[in-house]
C-alpha cells in the first residue's frame, strides 16, 4: 500500500514534470493560438498555384497565412463532350471544372477575375468559402475584356464549391462554370500519397447522347432536369483509359470530390473500394468506412482510402444509369502486388441456370433518328464507328478490345468474331445469352440487344473488324439490313 502510494507520487511528479516540459515546448513553437480565424495575421504575398483537374496544387503544409493572389481567367470555348460531339463550354481557367484553388485558414485571398475579351457575356464568381454577400458575386461582376479584383479572408476550413452567378445562373453553371476551393486547417491536412480533383456535372444538349456535331445548350431540358450527359471533369472519358488516375498498392489516396450540378446530386461511389474516411459535405466531421457518399449540387466531400490490391477501380455516380449511359464514370488504376488474402480473384466456376433467363433488350424508341451523316468512306466508317464503340461497347469490351477475363469476351484477334460476320451483326442487333467459346476460353454472360441503327452497326463493326488484328472486313448498312430482316 505504502509502496504503491510512493509509486503514485513518483508517477505524478513524473507526469507534472513532463507537462511542464511539454508546455514549455508549446510555448516555444507556437507563439500564439488564434481562436478567431479573422485575427490570424498574414505574412508576405504569394501568387496562388492553380491546377487543372484532376490535379491539385501542393499542400499548404506548415506555411503561415499569407496574402494569396489568385488570377482566374474566364474563357468561353469549344470542347469535346464525347467523341464527335462538340460543345461550347464556359470555363474558369479553361477547364471544366475550373482551376483548383488551395488556401489555408487565415489567408487573405486577393481574387482577380479576368473576363477574356473574346467572350460574349459578363460573368462573376460566387465562392462558397467566402463570408460576404453573394460570396463575392456582387464585387466580381465583370464585362468581357475587363478584370475585377476583390479580397476575402478564409475563416472556415473545408472544401468549397465556387461557381458563376450571373443571370441566368442555371445556364452559366450548366455550361461548366464551377470548381473547387480548398481551405486547409492550420498545419494542413494529414499527408497522403496521392491527391486528385474530381467534379461531377450534368449537361443538357439539343441532341441526345452521342448525337454528332456542335450541340447547343438546351434550356428546356435543363428546366426539366433531364440531362443528356452526367460526367466527371467536364466530358465523357475525362478520366478513363490513358487519362485514368493512378496509384500503387499500399498508397493512401485522397479525392477532392465536388458536384457542380446544376441539377443533380451525386451518389459518389468507387467500385471495389471502401472509403476509410469521408469529410462529410467537405466539412470537419469525419465518417469512417463509407461505401457511397452523397454530394449535393453545389457541395463537396473529401474522401480518403488506402488501396490494398491492384486493378482498375471504377468511380461512378451510383445513380447507375448515369454511369453507364450518360458518362459518369472514371477509372483509378492501381499497380502492385496481388494480395490473395484480401481479394482472391475467381476460385472456381460452376453452372447455375435460373429460370426466366433470356435476352434483355435495350429500350429502342420508335423511329430511331438515323445518324445525321452516313459514312461515305472507310475512313469515315472508322471514325464514326470508333465514336459508337467508345459510347456503347467500351465499358465491357474495353478500349483495346481486350474484354474482361471471365466476364466479357475479347474482340481483339477474336476467332469467334472473325468466323462469321452475319452472326456478329445478329449479336449486336439481338443480343446474346449463353455459353460461347472465344479463343479457347469459355464465356457465359449476357449482352443486351443494342438500339443502334443500320449505319451505326455497320460503322462500329467495321471499326472492330479493322482493329486489333481482326480480319479487316467491311460491314455495310445493307448487310445489317439483311440480317435485321431475317
Amino acid at each position: 500500500m505504502k509502496a504503491h502510494f510512493v509509486k503514485n507520487i513518483g508517477r505524478i511528479l513524473l507526469m507534472s514534470g513532463l507537462l511542464i516540459f511539454l508546455s514549455s515546448c508549446i510555448n516555444q513553437d507556437k507563439k500564439r493560438e488564434y481562436t478567431d480565424a479573422g485575427e490570424i495575421p498574414v505574412n508576405r504575398e504569394m501568387l496562388a498555384e492553380l491546377t487543372s483537374p484532376p490535379h491539385v496544387p501542393t499542400p499548404v503544409g506548415k506555411r503561415l497565412a499569407k496574402k494569396l493572389i489568385v488570377k482566374m481567367e474566364i474563357r468561353e470555348m469549344e470542347g469535346e463532350m464525347v467523341n464527335g460531339v462538340r460543345y461550347i463550354y464556359w470555363t474558369f481557367g479553361g477547364t471544366v471544372p475550373g482551376s483548383f484553388i488551395r488556401t489555408r485558414v487565415g489567408d487573405e485571398v486577393e481574387f482577380h477575375l479576368q473576363n477574356h475579351p473574346d467572350n460574349k457575356l459578363p460573368h462573376n464568381i460566387d465562392l462558397h468559402a467566402v463570408n460576404g454577400p453573394g460570396g463575392g458575386a456582387e464585387s466580381s461582376f465583370v464585362a468581357p475584356g475587363h478584370e475585377k479584383v476583390f479580397s476575402f479572408k478564409t475563416l472556415n476550413p473545408g472544401l468549397y464549391v465556387y461557381h458563376c452567378a450571373t443571370a441566368p445562373v442555371g445556364m452559366h453553371i450548366g455550361n461548366g462554370m464551377y470548381g473547387l476551393i480548398l481551405v486547409e486547417p492550420e498545419g494542413g491536412l494529414p499527408p497522403v500519397d496521392k491527391e486528385y480533383y474530381i467534379m461531377q456535372g450534368d449537361f443538357y444538349t439539343k441532341g441526345s447522347y452521342g448525337e454528332r456535331g456542335l450541340q447547343p445548350f438546351d434550356m428546356q431540358k435543363a428546366l426539366d432536369e433531364k440531362p443528356d450527359y452526367v460526367v466527371f471533369n467536364g466530358h465523357v472519358g475525362a478520366m478513363t483509359g490513358d487519362n485514368a488516375i493512378t496509384a500503387k498498392v499500399g498508397e493512401t489516396v485522397r479525392l477532392f470530390v465536388g458536384n457542380g450540378g446544376p441539377n443533380l446530386v451525386s451518389s459518389f461511389h468507387v467500385i471495389g473500394e471502401i472509403f476509410d474516411r469521408v469529410h462529410i459535405e467537405g466539412g470537419d466531421r469525419i465518417n469512417d468506412n463509407v461505401q457511397t457518399t452523397l454530394i449535393p449540387a453545389g457541395g463537396a466531400a473529401i474522401v480518403e482510402f488506402k488501396v490494398d490490391v491492384p486493378g482498375t477501380f471504377i468511380l461512378v455516380d451510383h445513380s447507375i444509369f448515369r454511369a453507364f449511359n450518360k458518362g459518369a464514370l472514371a477509372q483509378l488504376k492501381v499497380e502492385g502486388e496481388e494480395d490473395k488474402k484480401i481479394y482472391s480473384g475467381e476460385i472456381e466456376e460452376g453452372i447455375y441456370l435460373p429460370e426466366g433467363g433470356g435476352v434483355q433488350s435495350m429500350p429502342a424508341t420508335k423511329g430511331v433518328v438515323e445518324a445525321e451523316i452516313p459514312a461515305r468512306s472507310l475512313e469515315e466508317q472508322m471514325k464514326f464507328g470508333k465514336a459508337t464503340y467508345m459510347q456503347t461497347c467500351f465499358a465491357c469490351h474495353q478500349s483495346e478490345g481486350q474484354g474482361v477475363a471471365n466476364a466479357f469476351p475479347p474482340l481483339a484477334k477474336s476467332d469467334y468474331l472473325n468466323a462469321d460476320v452475319d452472326r456478329a451483326i445478329g449479336i449486336v442487333l439481338h443480343g446474346k445469352t449463353g455459353e460461347i467459346t472465344v479463343n479457347g476460353k469459355k464465356y457465359n454472360s449476357v449482352m443486351t440487344a443494342q438500339s443502334l441503327n443500320d449505319d451505326e452497326i455497320a460503322n462500329v463493326l467495321t471499326y472492330v473488324y479493322h482493329s486489333w488484328g481482326n480480319s479487316k472486313k467491311v460491314v455495310t448498312p445493307e448487310m445489317v439490313k439483311k440480317v435485321r430482316n431475317q
Binding site: I88, P122, A165, P216, M219
Partner: protein, 272 residues
C-alpha cells in the same frame, strides 16, 4: 489635369458635328411605335414607344473608319481615356488602318458609348433608347412581337453561345418584321440609356432596390425561355460602363419618327 478633362469635355459638348457627309450614312427603317411590357416591368409599367427610325445594319468598321478620318479626336491614338478605355479599337492596326484581320463589312466593336454617341450625332442621328431597341428587337421575320415563339428565343440563346460572331459581315443574319437586320446574331449594341436598369452583379438577390427586376425573375417559369434571352442582355448592359470597349459590342443609330423622312433614306419595303 482636371481642367484639361473639363476642357475637352466642354469641347466635345459644345463642338457641334457639322460635317454631315454621305459617308457612313445608311438606310433606315421606320418602326411603328406601340406599347410593350419590358422585362423589368409588370402590367402597370408598360412602356410607350413612339415611332422612330432605326439603321438597317449595325455601323461597320469601314463606316467608322470614315468617321475617325474626319474626326481626329476619335482616332485610336488621340482618344481621351475618359471617353474610351485602353481597349478602344484594339483590333485595328493603327488610327486609319483596319489591318487584315478586321473585316471592313463587319460591325465596328471595341467602341465606347461616348464614341458611339458622337458617331450618331455626326450623322444627325442619336443612339436608340433601350426601350426602342428592345421594342424593335422583339420582332422575328414575320411578327412584330415574337417573344413568345420558342424558336425565336432558341435562336437568340444560340447566338449567345456562338463564338466570334463579331467577325461576320452585317446583313448576314435575318431581316426582321421592320426590315432591320442583325439585331440578334452578330454583336451586342449600345443604347443611349443602357445603364438605366440596374441589374446587380449578384443576380439572385431578393426584394430590395431591384424589386421590379426580380418580379421578372420570379416569372421565369418552366416554359418561359423568353426572359432568359432578355435577362442576358440586361445582365450584359449592367456589366458595362460608358468608357468600356468590348469585342462583342457595337451599335447602330436611330432618329425620332416625327423627323422628315426625306432627310434619311428610308428603306421602301420597311414600313408595312
Amino acid at each position: 489635369m482636371s481642367i484639361i478633362i473639363k476642357r475637352s469635355l466642354l469641347l466635345l459638348l459644345v463642338l457641334p458635328c457639322i460635317t454631315l457627309t454621305a459617308q457612313g450614312e445608311q438606310q433606315m427603317a421606320k418602326v411603328k411605335g406601340g406599347v410593350y411590357v419590358p422585362l423589368y416591368g409588370n402590367d402597370i409599367t408598360a412602356v410607350r414607344v413612339d415611332d422612330f427610325y432605326l439603321d438597317l445594319y449595325p455601323v461597320t468598321n469601314s463606316d467608322y473608319l470614315a468617321f475617325v478620318k474626319e474626326h481626329a479626336e476619335w482616332k485610336k491614338s488621340l482618344v481621351k481615356g475618359l471617353f474610351a478605355d485602353g481597349n478602344y479599337l484594339r483590333n485595328w492596326v493603327s488610327d486609319t488602318d483596319l489591318g487584315e484581320k478586321v473585316v471592313p463589312d463587319a460591325p465596328v466593336t471595341n467602341v465606347s458609348w461616348f464614341a458611339a454617341k458622337s458617331y450618331c450625332e455626326c450623322q444627325g442621328k442619336r443612339l436608340p433608347t433601350m426601350d426602342e431597341w428592345e421594342f424593335a428587337a422583339m420582332a422575328d421575320e414575320t411578327a412584330a412581337d415574337a417573344r413568345k415563339k420558342k424558336d425565336y428565343n432558341k435562336y437568340i440563346l444560340g447566338w449567345y453561345e456562338a463564338p466570334r460572331t463579331y467577325k461576320n459581315p452585317v446583313g448576314s443574319t435575318f431581316k426582321n418584321y421592320w426590315g432591320i437586320y442583325d439585331l440578334h446574331g452578330l454583336v451586342w449594341e449600345w443604347t443611349s440609356d443602357f445603364n438605366s436598369v440596374l441589374l446587380s452583379g449578384e443576380s439572385r438577390k431578393g426584394n430590395d432596390e431591384d424589386a421590379n427586376l426580380f418580379c421578372g425573375a420570379a416569372a421565369v417559369g418552366a416554359t418561359d425561355l423568353m426572359n432568359y434571352a432578355a435577362f442576358m442582355r440586361y445582365a450584359f448592359r449592367a456589366s458595362i460602363k460608358a468608357n468600356y470597349n468590348v469585342q462583342n459590342l457595337g451599335f447602330r443609330c436611330a432618329v425620332d419618327g416625327n423627323k422628315k423622312s426625306n432627310t434619311y433614306k428610308v428603306a421602301l419595303d420597311a414600313t408595312k
